[in-house]
Symmetry: C3
Subunit: 351 residues, 3 copies
């Protein structure tokens, strides 16, 4: 969270005030770190969001617990009362995030092209590279070894962690985070076939990324063939995701790790796509679609809702028998039809 103040410990009274929460307990108690209900000790702050963990409340050794009004009176220690304890935990978590950041300014070992423009408060880590014509707004952080290609435009308060790579011409909004190993703007996979040989198509589009986007480690987002690949505001992407050229992802859509989206597919807003999903190219997925883990999506989806494919797991010995039968599924269906007809004709002839 931009601007969160990180201190070595927090008075409960100050926390309550910062978060706008009611405190039931001694405002002078202090907490220095976060912990789960079951593992928390003295000086730690915990939360109760999932009723499954209700029973851990009675014996918690936390100094304070973020808790909803329903359970607050059962809390044996100080309570920070919140209607949505999980959301409040998300907000307070940044008060205890002690990630060290590169110093303000440009590390002496970094390379910044003479015509690159850096806003106030930028932090450029060791061995980072900012190529010619790149423009970084205020408070941009570029980690060790990260590379910002020529003519990139990076919005304010955006962070590129160590060893991120941006090709030329990538544009991002404000408050984005790119984790290590992310590659944005590599060539899309575009080739024309010339009697068996592949003739490469230059990928002259770029990548355009909105505000408040998070991109997980080793995720790749290719540049567009002609127009840009587009990632909307508030999109969150987990690790090892592949976004092909000219994909468009709508606002606030969340995608879990290892998912791949083929070229020119458009994903709507407020979708949630689980891990290792595969989505074919040139499809349209409407808003508010949920795709379950490892689904293979080969057709456009026009109605909001949840979609799946695949088979459920079983022991390998049972699976082998069933998987072999899958090859006979159409034949089985035809046999059933024949049996139905046969029985029907029997019944008819019996009458």
């Amino acid at each position: 969270m931009v601007g969160a103040v990180v201190k070595s410990s927090w008075r409960l009274g100050d926390l309550a005030q910062s978060l706008g929460l009611e405190l039931v307990g001694n405002p002078n108690l202090e907490v220095h770190s976060l912990a789960t209900l079951g593992s928390a000790g003295s000086g730690q702050l915990s939360f109760l969001a999932n009723p499954m963990y209700r029973r851990q409340l009675d014996s918690t050794a936390a100094t304070a617990v973020i808790i909803n009004p329903q359970f607050a009176s059962d809390c044996p220690v100080a309570a920070l009362v919140a209607d949505n304890p999980y959301l409040m935990y998300a907000k307070v978590s940044h008060f205890f995030d002690r990630r060290p950041r590169p110093d303000c300014g440009v590390h002496p070992s970094a390379y910044v092209a003479t015509d690159a423009v850096l806003g106030a408060g930028c932090r450029i880590g060791p061995m980072a590279v900012i190529e010619s014509g790149a423009v970084l707004a205020d408070n941009v952080e570029v980690g060790a070894g990260a590379v910002v290609g020529a003519n990139c435009s990076i919005g304010a308060n955006t962070t590129l962690h160590a060893n991120v790579t941006f090709y030329h011409g990538v544009k991002t909004g404000d408050r984005c985070t790119f984790h290590s190993g992310v590659v944005v703007g590599a060539d899309g996979f575009g080739f024309a076939n010339d009697q068996g040989q592949w003739q490469k198509i230059a990928q002259v589009g770029a990548v355009s990324i909105g505000n408040d986007v998070e991109v997980g480690a080793n995720t790749t987002i290719d540049r567009g063939a002609i127009q840009d690949t587009i990632i909307g505001n508030g999109v969150i992407l987990d690790n090892q995701i592949q976004i092909a050229h000219n994909v468009e992802i709508g606002e606030c859509t969340a995608i879990a790790g290892c998912t791949g989206i083929a070229g020119s597919t458009k994903i709507g807003k407020y979708c949630t796509i689980a891990g290792a999903v595969g989505i074919a190219g040139h499809l349209e997925i409407t808003d508010r679609v949920h795709l379950t883990m490892r689904s293979a999506i080969t057709k456009s989806i026009t109605e909001p809702g949840s979609y799946s494919s695949g088979t459920a797991m079983s022991t390998t010995s049972l699976w082998r028998k069933n998987a072999a039968r899958f090859r006979q599924l159409d034949e089985m269906a035809r046999k059933i039809s024949r049996l139905e007809k046969l029985l029907k004709s029997q019944q008819t002839s019996d009458q």
Copy 2:
């Protein structure tokens, strides 16, 4: 395309001459960039390859269109007439590719071992590392932060984009492209089991890559256990592909993103492997095989053709019912057989 001249704009007459195409229109008109038929404006060059987009031709605002002879007379603007407009678009796209490249020579911040050999026209970017004994042919480009391991041999006109990593002893042909985050020559996954503990097997082979190979962002190609992992001429690999040790891939085979190929498998020539396919180890896939998206391949394929596995998507509620039945598939097949026998015996006894 090696040697493509990039200018700020092109006269149509010059383009037609460079590409060997007939021009129907004013040769003095100029185009400065590419666009799709639907979005093109004045000064832009477009193409009509897919008949699906034929209707966009009538209203296009492009200055010129690459088009096949069949539609040329319908073209409301200048026409560059080509038998294969998509292939011609591929070729012309490089005339408009304005990717900035590192300057010729070695950037002052790069490290080149004293006994590495660099051909004429090499471009070594900021923070790049060329280790001892590496030999780079003419016009090799090594992007910012890329690492060329000891004793590598890189063919002429090959490009390693920023933050590519080559381990020692990797050999590539000419005109190859390796995108950011690619790792070539990491250890194959070879271990002997010693009463539950894993004893690592040193991977003493290397990786041998042909000419005109493209490797997408964050793809990994492991070094061989004893002999080399081999990538044939003209192979194109998309992003996030895993090629295990001692895999061999035949000429001009194309593989889409997120596919994984396990150790020692041999893939033939002119295959097309779609996204997120998994291929088990020690298999042989013959030439001209097509594998559809997310197929799981666990047996060798000896006949050219198209192969698939998986299930089609449906709503999650319907899928749950069907996936549960998958576990009973063998039992269902046996029931059908029993019913068939029963009915047959009935009919026999009825006669």
Copy 3:
């Protein structure tokens, strides 16, 4: 193998002594490299582990073969007799591994924070970055361009290959290997939903890795939300694996490439997980479980054994028919039940 001596060639007598094996043949013969039985020539050492290759023994041109007692008398060349030839090959392979390593000490182009601590014999490659407060034990190797985040703790004899990235606070044991492109300690994918917007949860845990762990190229291991993500002793991970926050992996478990494990799942000891498996979050997989290639695991597994999901491959034309029927599977099962009942009632009425 730590401490393996690599020489340009080895006397068979010395090899036999180093490995504790019986030599049948001339101890003064020398071998300079490894080869498979079929490809070996003079001066090469081979092994016979898989009986499938027994027939290659008769015509091998190897100078010596590691072989079990059963086949030793058939060996036409010098024999190094071992009860487990594959394991012995694993051990001897390191004697022939000629991977160049960075020189001892810190390369002049590397950056080491003034308050980082380096043990004896550390090798820090060109452009590597060791951030503030990091502690490296003896003989740690950090490859070119690799980044060790602030306050990391790296055990003795551990190797980070080129362009590895460790975020702050990562802890590893001794004798670990991290291949290029690995990212350890990036943020887990933790967000609270606030009326459609995603509110990021700071990931304040770290990653704790045991001894003798190997992590393949471009694999990602996220830091914990509150507590640490934990990788046990002797775990081996292949390339392009995604390990989400707060996953725990038990001792000596092996995981093949492209597998993804979602948050907070616990994997037992001595498991073997094949390639491209997907495991959902918050599950427990007990010890000694085997998961076959591309399985989707959505429930905890409490019994050791082998588990699978998916369908077997077929030609695409056959697959299309069967995959379409998958959507009718529940309906088919109901039809079978109806037929069974109908026939049963017929038989009853017939009696």
